[in-house]
Symmetry: C2
Subunit: 497 residues, 2 copies
């Protein structure tokens, strides 16, 4: 492994462009927000009750329906693809995959094709010297508990251009058009590569300077409050997690003298703070990481393409589901929704349902005093670039408990059997509730033992949080499961101050 060092007085920003250390300054400001949990507007402990109140007052109801009861959605007579009469929103189509681990035979499955990019946007504002985020109590039909903590705006282009002829998307004007505030984060990121075809959403954080009205169902909260809620089951939604993972965060800790490289010599939190800082010694420099990823992308033999939903081999369509015969794969279902506070108050739509619970985990390790994450270069069929950086363990497309031993991903058992003291984060978190029905995965951050193998498998590399956050500024390098885990990991900082 190549060791490297950087001048100690470098504090960030790098080649981001113009302003002096704009990124570093922003990282410090978000660091202060992360360290702040007091908030006279809403106490952190009251957030679950607030979400519950919104749920009760919203008059929400979601029920499974047969496909024949779908309104404005229908199966195309030729292809069997399931689409909306407007031609907008999304379609459910077939996906054929071959090559790579799947061999020449490959497999087929239904997939959600949603070519347009939505906006996942959080408004930020400095209140009493601390950045606050405008969070939303957001209902989605697939959410466990229906209402979860969402970003200020979470809308597909079809929604915010009002293809559904409903009301306007609140706060949208702060994210689009020339009058918007100061853009702090703005990048297209991929979503679930096992069930979306080339889907990307625009992750945004925009800072406003003046006071703006707080509408029903919204609250200003500090980053520290959201971090504190991250470990609560089914609470912070996926859209919040991916946006927060893109934030510059850090500052306050200079690298300081180096200590010997065993984990006992430096606290976990100090190693985490160093991992977030741009001056950290990394096992690999960025060019090494990029070149390794380019190797994987170039060598990938995975071939994936859309095919008609009708007649997918091994899949059967009945009145209320399209399912694979084994029952271990996703299903296409339909739901009816009533929602008093949404842009439209009643609709029906198809959704995807997943069997059981998946698991995704980071294995992390303090290396020369800096926390590193073992990232996997993982091929997924719905990803535009075939391979992105994924968690060390990612087993989310089916119930991990039912994966037979010889098919279990490397290190799955290592993370599931880790001693309690090494488990830094462990929670069941929801995936996107607008397309997935009750899809929850268990997310784990597990610290490696001192005797964890130092040698990296060909498909894995150690990286720091700062390296991942730098790559994420340029788009689709880090997949959505890894971005959730980045948000989980950063929520542990600065826990012990």
């Amino acid at each position: 492994m190549t060791q490297s060092s950087r001048p100690r007085d470098r504090t960030g920003g790098g080649e981001r462009g113009g302003r002096p250390d704009a990124t570093a300054l922003l990282a410090v400001r978000f660091g202060l927000s992360a360290a702040t949990t007091g908030n006279p507007r809403i106490a952190t402990g009251d957030v679950p009750a607030w979400l519950e109140r919104v749920r009760r007052h919203g008059g929400f109801a979601v029920s499974r329906i047969p496909f024949a009861a779908l309104d404005q959605w229908s199966f195309h007579p030729g292809t069997g693809n399931l689409g909306h009469s407007s031609g907008r929103f999304f379609t459910v189509e077939g996906l054929r995959v071959s090559g790579g681990d799947w061999g020449a035979g490959g497999f087929t499955q239904p997939v959600v094709n949603q070519p347009e990019s939505g906006i996942l946007g959080i408004l930020a504002r400095e209140i009493d010297g601390v950045l606050h985020l405008l969070m939303q109590a957001k209902m989605e039909p697939g959410n466990t508990g229906l209402v979860q903590l969402g970003p200020t705006v979470q809308a597909t282009r079809s929604n915010y251009t009002r293809a559904h002829r409903g009301g306007p998307t609140r706060y949208l004007e702060h994210f689009t058009g020339p009058g918007r505030g100061r853009v702090l984060v703005d990048v297209l990121q991929s979503e679930q590569g096992d069930s979306f075809w080339h889907k990307r959403n625009r992750n945004m954080v925009v800072e406003v300077s003046g006071d703006i009205p707080v509408q029903d169902g919204h609250q200003w909260m500090t980053l520290g409050q959201v971090h504190a809620l991250m470990g609560t089951a089914h609470l912070v939604n996926m859209d919040v997690r991916t946006v927060l993972s893109c934030l510059p965060l850090g500052g306050g800790e200079t690298p300081g003298p180096d200590l010997p490289g065993t984990s006992g010599d430096i606290s976990f939190h100090r190693a985490l703070a160093r991992s977030l800082g741009p001056g950290a010694r990394a096992v690999h420099d960025e060019l090494e990481l990029l070149s390794w990823l380019t190797d994987l992308r170039t060598d990938s033999t995975v071939s994936a393409g859309l095919v008609p939903l009708r007649g997918l081999a091994g899949w059967r369509q009945d009145e209320d589901a399209i399912a694979e015969e084994s029952g271990t794969r996703l299903k296409v279902i339909a739901v009816s929704v009533r929602a008093g506070t949404r842009e439209v108050t009643r609709w029906t739509q198809p959704m995807l349902e997943f069997p059981g619970q998946g698991v995704a985990a980071f294995v992390v390790k303090r290396i020369d005093g800096v926390l590193h994450i073992l990232m996997q270069g993982k091929a997924q069929p719905g990803i535009r670039d075939a391979v992105e950086l994924a968690p060390t363990v990612q087993c989310v497309s089916r119930n991990w408990e039912e994966v037979p031993p010889r098919s279990r991903p490397p290190m799955l058992d290592h993370v599931l059997r880790a001693a309690r003291a090494r488990v830094r984060f462990d929670a069941v978190l929801p995936e996107e509730g607008g397309r997935f029905y009750h899809r929850d995965n268990r997310y784990l951050v597990v610290e490696a033992d001192d005797d964890f193998p130092a040698a990296e498998p060909d498909t894995m590399r150690w990286a720091t949080l700062n390296q991942l956050k730098t790559l994420m500024r340029y788009g689709t390098y880090v997949n959505v499961e890894a971005r959730t885990l980045i948000a989980c990991l950063q929520s542990l900082w600065p826990g012990d101050r």
Copy 2:
């Protein structure tokens, strides 16, 4: 326009990762190579004669043939797509495009579908303290003059994995596998978005430390020599130009005190050197550029997809061409090739032929002493991300002289009618000769007048060379025509030293 500044002692590298200022050091080493034109192995002036010698000794011959004379290539009975019997190399298929500037009706045309990534690789080696590049006298059937100056390795995956059952690709082992040298550049970049479907090639520069044998048809040359040849018509091929555009280059010039912002106050070359440096004041910081590009990508309504080649509306297939009825668009043709020094010595293949000559131009301007380029965010149907940064003027898909006045791109006449003193670069350069038949475009770098409008059109932004080179480390941000112009522009430095 937002002005910004950075500490003067920042010398590069930024957040590239580990090693201290590795990028800055590399930029200085390539800067030294760019400033060196003396070479006892081959004088710059002798390069054209060397290429001519290789051409004569190679026994090359290329002739147009009817489709029926193609060997191993055939039209698919169902789709009419033109493919190779191995299923490798590439196919010629149909493309349907609608939306954006093309409206709901859109258009159709043939397109080359080549999903696999090839390698465009240059070996570098320090000789007498100066980095030298191993250049190749490279024959391609579509080249004007047949033999042009190419990179060390220029091979599709089908070639280098020997799908053609020919000889091995020379020097390939230095670019792939664990024994390769030190990787200096390694990134997937897009190619022509008007005629390739999602094509990308891997641009690489690898440094070797020991002596390696120089095979027939190869020569060690300095970067300065290649730069000096850049303005010669039909000489430096596209593959060299795109790889060189990815090089870190600069150093030697610290920003120094700022001068008033008129072009007369600082020399063009000093402004160019500053544009290459990471410390330069830029009109926009990187986040502003990225957010503007994300706006264009999100708002793009261009929809493009592959369709069967058979029965494209408005296109007619006869014995030896597939052509559009107006005659102003590309044609599909077939050629027979004899080549003594290629991996296989005889083959036939389809190619694309373009009508007349296109034009692509950078408008550049000294702003506060730093050279800026007016980049266009341009939608092209074959580009994965829909929109990339393109030259200020890009009119390469048809003969620019025949474009009617009302369809002429903005600023086309501005660059064609510029006073001679403002034209910093002007040459006819070849496009890729493995797929295109005699496709040449005129490339111009034109300096704006002092009274050039400061306001940017919505689809254009001023950027420095360093900003473009930083984005290019992360992949498909800058299109191939703009990368050629970046290579042309950097070839002007350090001309007056």
